[in-house]
C-alpha cells in the first residue's frame, strides 16, 4: 500500500462531508443557529480539506519550509467556503454573532496551522501525524477556547468508531447518532438539531453526519481488526456507513 493511499484515507472524511443540512425545529432562533452552525461546519470542513489536500506536501521529508502557513490554509479554505456557500466570509458583519463565531473559527484555523509550523516543516520526517482529523480536533479545541461560553465544535463518532478519547461523544451525541443518524430510515446526509439543556443552560445543538468514502476504508475498512499504517486496527467499515458526525453547540 502506497503512502498516497494512506494520505487519501486520512482526508477521506472531510471530502465526503456533506453540505446539506436540515434544521429540525422551526423556531427563528434555531434557524439562525442552524445557519451559524452550518457556516462553522463548512469553514472547518474546508480548512480540513486544505490540510488533506496538502498531506503529500506536509509529509515530504526532503522539504523543509512548506510555506503552508495559517494564512495560506485559511485563504484556500475561504475560497472553498465562498464556492460552497456563495458568500464571502469577509462580507459577514464581524460584530454579528455569525461573523464573530466564523472569524473565531478562521483565527483558530490560522493559529493551529501556525502553531504546528515546526511539525509541518520538520525535515527528514515523513509521516508527521498532522492529519485532517488531528487538525480538525486542534482547530475545534482552539475555537472552543476562543468561543468559550458561546459555542463549541467537536468532531465525534459512534463510540465504537472513536479513536481518540477526546472525540468521545457525550450522552446526547451518542443518543442522536444511535437513534437518528444511524436509524435505517434516516435520510442520508440529513443533520439533526435540537435545543437542549446543557449544564443548566439552553443551547442549540446540531449533529452533521459524515459518511465513509472508498478512500476512507484504507484505514477504516476491512478486514476488521487488521492494523492500518498508523498501527490502529481497522473498524471494518463500508462505503456509505456513518463514519463520524460534526457536533456544534451554540449556547443561548
Amino acid at each position: 500500500m502506497s503512502r498516497d493511499w494512506l494520505r487519501s484515507a486520512m482526508f477521506a472524511l472531510p471530502i465526503v462531508g456533506l453540505v446539506t443540512s436540515a434544521a429540525v425545529g422551526a423556531a427563528p432562533r434555531s434557524d439562525e443557529d442552524a445557519a451559524i452552525a452550518q457556516s462553522l461546519a463548512e469553514m472547518l470542513r474546508d480548512a480540513r480539506a486544505v490540510v488533506s489536500n496538502n498531506q503529500d506536501l506536509i509529509n515530504n521529508p526532503e522539504l523543509g519550509d512548506k510555506h503552508l502557513t495559517g494564512q495560506v490554509v485559511l485563504d484556500q479554505a475561504v475560497k472553498s467556503y465562498a464556492k460552497a456557500t456563495g458568500s464571502d466570509p469577509a462580507t459577514i458583519d464581524p460584530k454579528s454573532r455569525q461573523g464573530r463565531l466564523l472569524r473565531a473559527m478562521m483565527v483558530a484555523i490560522v493559529a493551529v496551522t501556525d502553531d504546528n509550523q515546526a511539525t509541518i516543516n520538520e525535515k527528514g520526517t515523513g509521516f508527521k501525524g498532522f492529519i485532517p482529523a488531528v487538525f480538525a480536533r486542534l482547530v475545534s479545541e482552539d475555537f472552543n477556547q476562543r468561543a468559550k461560553g458561546e459555542a463549541e465544535v467537536k468532531v465525534t463518532a459512534p463510540l465504537e468508531l472513536v479513536r481518540n478519547r477526546k472525540a468521545r461523544p457525550d450522552a446526547w451525541e451518542a443518543d442522536v447518532m444511535k437513534t437518528k443518524l444511524l436509524a435505517a430510515d434516516w435520510p442520508k446526509g440529513q443533520s439533526y438539531s435540537a435545543v437542549v439543556d446543557v449544564s443548566g443552560h439552553p443551547a442549540f445543538r446540531i449533529m452533521v453526519p459524515e459518511y465513509y468514502a472508498a478512500s476512507c476504508l484504507v484505514c477504516h475498512g476491512s478486514p476488521k481488526g487488521e492494523m492500518d499504517l498508523t498501527g490502529y486496527p481497522k473498524e471494518g467499515g463500508k462505503v456509505g456507513d456513518l463514519g463520524a458526525a460534526m457536533s456544534i453547540t451554540l449556547y443561548h
Binding site: L159, V162, R163, N164, R165, K166, Y232
Partner: protein
C-alpha cells in the same frame, strides 16, 4: 518339611510368592497414589505459578495501556487496558482458591491502581496534565504494591512447588529403594524356599530311586527312606511293603529250594540206599550160593593133601624100590600136587574170606546196641589198625593225631560194627598216606592221619582225615558202591566202604560224607544221632 505333603508345600511356596507380589504391588500402588497426589499438588502449584505469572503479565499490559492512554488518548489503548484487566481478573480468579486473602489484597490494589489511572486518563483527556501526572503517580504506587504482591505469591508458590516436588521425588526414591529391597528379599527367599522345597522332594526321591534300584537288583537289605506323612512317605511305605513281600517271597523261595534240595538228596539217598540194599541182598545170596561149593573145594583140597600124604606114606616102599630118577620124578609130582592143592586151599580160604565178608555185609544191623565211650572205641580201633598195618609192613609208619572231644557222653551204637567202620576208614587212610609217601618226590613228606570227634548235641561227629593221595572226583559217586576199589587186585575187596555206608546209614541212622582233594587230603565225616531215626545218607564232594 516332610510333615507337609508335597501339594501343601507347593501351595505354600506359590502362596508365599503371590503374597509377596500382592504386598509389593499394594505398597507400590499406595506409594504411587500418594506420589500421584503429590505430583497433582505440584502440578496445581505450577499452574498457580503460571496463573500468577500470567496475572503479572496482564497487569503489566494493563499498566502499559493505561500509560499509553495518557499519552495517545486512543480508545484502543483504553480497550486494550480493559482487556488486560479482564485477563488479570480471570487469572486472579483462578489463583483465589490457593490463598483468597492474598488475592483479595491484590485485587484491592489493582482496583485502586485502576481508579487512579482512570482518573489520570480523564485528566489528560481534559488537558489537565499536572493533575493527571499526580494521579498517575499515585496509581504507580499501587502498581508497585501489586507487583510486589504478585512477586511474593510467585515466590511462595515456587517454593511450595519445589517442596512438593522434592517431597514427591524423595517419596518416589524411597519407594523405589524399598521396593527394590523387597523384591531382592522376595527373590532370595523364593530361591531359598524353592531350594528347600525341591530338596525336600528330590532328596527323598533319590533315596527312593536308589532303594527301588537296589530292590530291582535283588538287594533286599537296601535302606528304604523313613515313611513321612507326605506323598513320598506313601511311596516309601508302599516300597517297604514291597520289600517285605520280596523278603517273604525270597524266604519262601529259599525254603522251597531247600526243601527241593532236601527232597532231591533224600531221593538220591533213598535210591542209593535201595541200590545198596538190593546189592547187599544180592551179594548175600551169591555168597550163600558160593559158600557150599567153596566149602567143597576147600575141604576136598585139604582132604586131597592129606590123601596125597597118605599116598606118599603108603607108596613109600614101592617108590623106594624104584630107581633114583623115578623116585625123584614121583616126589616132584607129589610135591607139585601138594603145592597145587595148598594153593587151591589158600585161594579157597581167601574166597571163603570174601564170602564171609559178604555174608557179614548181609548180616549187618544184627548186632546189639550198647552205650559206649566213642573216644575209647576210636582209640582201640586206631591202635588195632596201626599195629595191623605195621604187622603187614614193617616199613609202614604214620603220625597219628587225635583231637577227641572228651565231653562226649556215651552214645548208643553197635560197637563191633562201628569199630569195623573205623578200621575200614583208618586202613584206607593208612593206605592212601603210605601210597603218597611212596609216590611222593618229596622225601620230607610225612604221612599223617588225624581223628577228630565233636559232640554236636543231638548227634556226634567223627572226622578221619589223611594227607594221602586223595580221591579223584570222578570216583566219588561210586565210592560207597560194593566191589568198587582202586587198590590192586587182591589187596581190597571193594566192600569196606559199602559195608561202612550201610552200618552208618542203615543201621545207625547217621550219615557219612567225604571231602577230598587229589594229592592233598581225604576227609570222611560221620555223624551218628544219639537217638535212632529213619535212615538218611548222602555223599559230599
Amino acid at each position: 518339611m516332610a510333615w507337609l505333603t508335597i501339594r501343601t508345600r507347593l501351595i505354600l511356596l506359590t502362596s508365599a510368592g503371590l503374597l509377596v507380589l500382592i504386598a509389593t504391588n499394594f505398597y507400590l500402588t499406595r506409594v504411587l497414589s500418594e506420589n500421584s497426589a503429590g505430583m497433582v499438588k505440584a502440578a496445581g502449584l505450577l499452574k498457580g505459578i503460571e496463573q500468577a505469572d500470567s496475572a503479572q503479565i496482564a497487569f503489566g499490559e494493563m499498566r502499559y495501556w493505561m500509560t499509553d492512554l495518557a499519552v495517545s488518548q486512543l480508545t484502543l489503548s483504553e480497550r486494550n487496558a480493559a482487556a488486560a484487566r479482564a485477563r488479570m481478573d480471570e487469572h486472579l480468579g483462578k489463583l483465589a482458591p490457593w490463598n483468597p486473602e492474598r488475592i483479595a489484597a491484590v485485587r484491592s490494589e489493582v482496583a485502586q491502581y485502576d481508579e487512579f489511572a482512570d482518573k489520570a486518563a480523564d485528566e489528560y483527556t481534559n488537558d489537565r496534565r499536572v493533575i493527571g501526572n499526580s494521579l498517575l503517580a499515585q496509581a504507580r504506587q499501587h502498581s508497585v504494591i501489586v507487583d510486589n504482591l504478585l512477586g511474593s505469591i510467585v515466590a511462595d508458590l515456587t517454593n511450595e512447588a519445589l517442596i512438593a516436588r522434592q517431597q514427591t521425588v524423595a517419596e518416589a526414591t524411597a519407594a523405589t529403594r524399598l521396593s527394590q529391597i523387597v523384591v531382592a528379599a522376595a527373590v532370595l527367599t523364593g530361591v531359598l524356599l524353592t531350594v528347600l522345597v525341591l530338596r525336600s522332594i528330590v532328596v527323598p526321591l533319590r533315596r527312593l530311586v536308589a532303594a527301588m534300584d537296589g530292590l530291582n537288583a535283588g538287594n533286599v537289605d537296601v535302606a528304604i527312606p523313613a515313611a513321612g506323612p507326605d506323598e513320598i512317605g506313601a511311596v516309601a511305605r508302599t516300597l517297604a511293603r514291597f520289600r517285605d513281600a520280596l523278603l517273604e517271597r525270597n524266604r519262601r523261595e529259599g525254603e522251597l529250594r531247600a526243601a527241593h534240595e532236601e527232597l532231591k538228596a533224600t531221593q538220591a539217598s533213598l535210591i542209593h540206599a535201595e541200590k545198596m540194599a538190593s546189592l547187599g541182598q544180592l551179594t548175600a545170596g551169591i555168597a550163600h550160593e558160593i559158600k557150599n561149593p567153596l566149602n567143597f573145594v576147600n575141604n576136598f583140597a585139604s582132604l586131597s593133601v592129606e590123601l596125597l600124604d597118605e599116598l606118599r606114606q603108603t607108596a613109600r616102599p614101592a617108590i623106594a624100590a624104584l630107581g633114583a630118577d623115578k623116585r625123584a620124578e614121583i616126589d616132584e609130582v607129589i610135591d607139585m600136587l601138594t603145592g597145587n592143592l595148598e594153593k587151591i586151599a589158600e585161594h579157597g580160604n581167601r574166597a571163603d574170606g570174601i564170602v564171609k565178608s559178604m555174608l557179614a555185609h548181609s548180616r549187618s544191623g544184627s548186632g546189639d546196641r550198647q552205650r559206649v565211650d566213642l573216644n575209647a572205641l576210636i582209640e582201640e580201633s586206631l591202635n588195632l589198625a596201626y599195629h595191623g598195618a605195621r604187622a603187614q609192613d614193617h616199613d609202614f609208619n604214620i603220625t597219628l593225631e587225635r583231637d577227641l572231644d572228651r565231653t562226649i557222653a556215651p552214645i548208643e551204637l553197635v560197637p563191633q560194627d562201628i569199630s569195623r567202620v573205623l578200621l575200614n576208614l583208618f586202613g584206607n587212610g593208612f593206605y592212601a598216606a603210605d601210597k603218597r609217601r611212596h609216590e611222593a618226590a618229596d622225601a620230607a613228606f610225612r604221612p599223617v592221619l588225624k581223628v577228630v570227634t565233636r559232640d554236636l548235641g543231638r548227634e556226634v561227629e567223627i572226622r578221619v582225615r589223611d594227607n594221602g593221595i586223595g580221591i579223584p572226583i570222578e570216583f566219588r559217586d561210586k565210592l560207597f558202591q560194593p566191589f568198587f576199589t582202586t587198590k590192586p587186585t587182591g589187596e581190597g575187596t571193594g566192600l569196606g566202604l559199602s559195608i561202612s555206608y550201610d552200618i552208618v546209614t542203615q543201621q545207625h541212622g547217621g550219615m557219612i560224607t567225604v571231602d577230598s582233594r587229589v594229592d592233598e587230603f581225604t576227609e570222611f565225616t560221620i555223624r551218628l544221632p544219639r537217638s535212632r531215626h529213619p535212615a538218611t545218607a548222602g555223599t559230599r564232594t
